[in-house]
Amino acid sequence: MFNKVLIANRGEIAVRILRACRELGLETVAVYSEADRQALHVRYADEAYLLGPAPSRESYLRGDKIIEIAKKCGAGAIHPGYGFLAEREDFAEACAEAGIVFIGPKPSAIAAMGDKAVARATVAKSGVPVVPGTEDVGDLSDEELLALAPKIGFPLLIKATAGGGGKGMREVRSLEEMPTLLQSARREAEAAFGDGNVYLEKLIEGARHIEIQILADQHGNVIHLGERECSLQRRHQKLIEESPSPFIGTDEDLRQRMGEVAVRAAQAVEYVNAGTIEFLVDKDKNFYFLEMNTRLQVEHPVTEMVTGIDIVKEQIRIARGRQLSYTQEDVSFKGHAIECRINAEDPFNNFMPSTGRITHSVLPTGPGVRVDTSVYPGFEITPYYDPLIAKLIVWGETRGQAILRMRRALEEYRIVGIRTNIPFHQMMMDSTRFIAGQYDTRFVEERFDIEKAEGGSDEAPQIAAIMATLAAHQQTQRAAHVVRRAERDTSNWKWLGRWERLQR
């Protein structure tokens, strides 16, 4: 039994896990890179140790160093969060060898689900439907893939074998464009995962991405916590998640069937701890196993909001060898939760990453609002890690109430110093298709134009004009002021020139 936990992660998820540990009375250990000396997880933890330089492979991916630190400081368990080392069986294995509890599944389960081909074969054997593709065949050459493509049929997807998060993924409409896309997918996969292998998968059009959260303890109990709708994506990156899914809605039968299949998939690999089974659901409500994420998900809070279950605390409880606090019958759903991922990206400039120092920040609060974040005024957003800076989660009695609350919370949220995608979320909350729940995984790319978004008030353009004019006027006044003063060691023209250069 451990009572000190090392959190092998950074950002909002490290803070989230720290909070659970604190509430359970466990001591906490943070690890950090040189770029994160001032990060919130370092400030909140009881102990903190430097890992190395900013790039992940020299810091947060240094499993050997992390285990060494855990041994030295007496941490009995390591929570990997998501990303970094969360789905690395070798790391889970190394923890076990060092006598440290890995808060997650067994290495064998990570391996079985991490290799997508094995995962599909395993779940297919237990009667879980899978999407047609070449994943089970193993690594193929470009020539072999090009030969197999017409058999699967277009459109199809090229996906990275080691992949996730949309990296190394390309959509192919025809055989002609496939060689170019194969090359760029391999290049991106190589850069992201150090593995350029790819596979093909049939693209299900109009598909919705719905996933089931499961919890499994070491005593053979497996339960599911219902679904999360994650169809709102851009470039295969999830942006908004909600629970319950408006697509499943009141179809309790479908919900139960998906839940049972998810439980079966987890049992097929003797899964322990929290995990997520991702499904693609077509418009006729056929569902296919996509993959299993053998870790805590970014979007776990929406499930927490509707079930009242603290998933991270349950993870720790499971890792300590206890029984689950809940049986399937205990799990009930109340109301509706939505999460918006707040990224340091400029939605008006093709979602280009935005870096810089956050100079000012006002978080939304009030009834039904939760913010999981790790940034604060004075914190620098660096280009080394992913752009997620906060998760804004709201709860409402109904989906409509939740949307209204999310609108209110987004309008309250102020971050100065970097650009964020908050305006994108505001437009989404105004979009009639989102409100009606009629969206699939292609909605953002195909039917959404940030320049022609719906909603917005009539008087706003005039207010904007007044504000810009006042700002311009202030600037002119200041410029005049600079020129007017004569006590300079050099000519006013030079001063003006310098001033103008400063303003650029």
């Binding site: 998060g165 990296k167 290049r187 991106e188 850069a191 992201a192 340091a344 008006f348 400039n349 280009m352 990453p353 935005s354 870096t355 100079t359 000012h360 280009p383 080394y384 890690y385 992913d386 752009p387 987004l410 309008e411 102020r414 100065v416 908050i422 305006p423 505001q426 437009m427 105004d430 978004a453 917005g456 008030s457 706003a460 353009p461 005039q462 207010i463 904007a464 004009a465 007044i466 504000m467 810009a468 004019t469 006042l470 700002a471 311009a472 006027h473 600037q475 002119t476 303003q503």
Partner: protein
Amino acid sequence: MKYIATTDEKEIGIEIVDEHHVRIGDRLIAVDFVALSDQPLYSLIVDGKSYEAYIYPEEGGWQVLLMGRLYHVHVEDEREKRLRAAAGSKVAETGEFHLKAPMPGLVVSVPVSEGQSVEKGDVLVILESMKMQNELKSPRAGTVSRIRVKPGDSVEQRQTLLSVV
């Protein structure tokens, strides 16, 4: 001072009467405009209504992010407007375009070569930052000149990568 603000191709004449009043047409409007916690966040109370917006200077004007919408506002005083009208409003797309890195990152590839002609929207450089590959595209047609980076280079924000003439 009289200004003409243009947004969404609509022109609005706005006169700054004094620190707390502006005139639009015949209407004298009470305004209270303050920068919050330093720029670029501003609060405006106009006729008792309270608004907050981010205001950023941009090439040839201002970006105003208000209630989740972005407005591009071009502001000029009357004298500037007359000068521009006299000079002819059409500004030809000439001069060099310098592609600058929008953020620090790693150059993944430069799919163009010097002297190559490109169309608007062609990819000039692929830059990796925050674990994503970003395609930097040409804003207009032209000829690529002076490529200053190669794949594998780390670049700083606003560093010039290449030019299109």
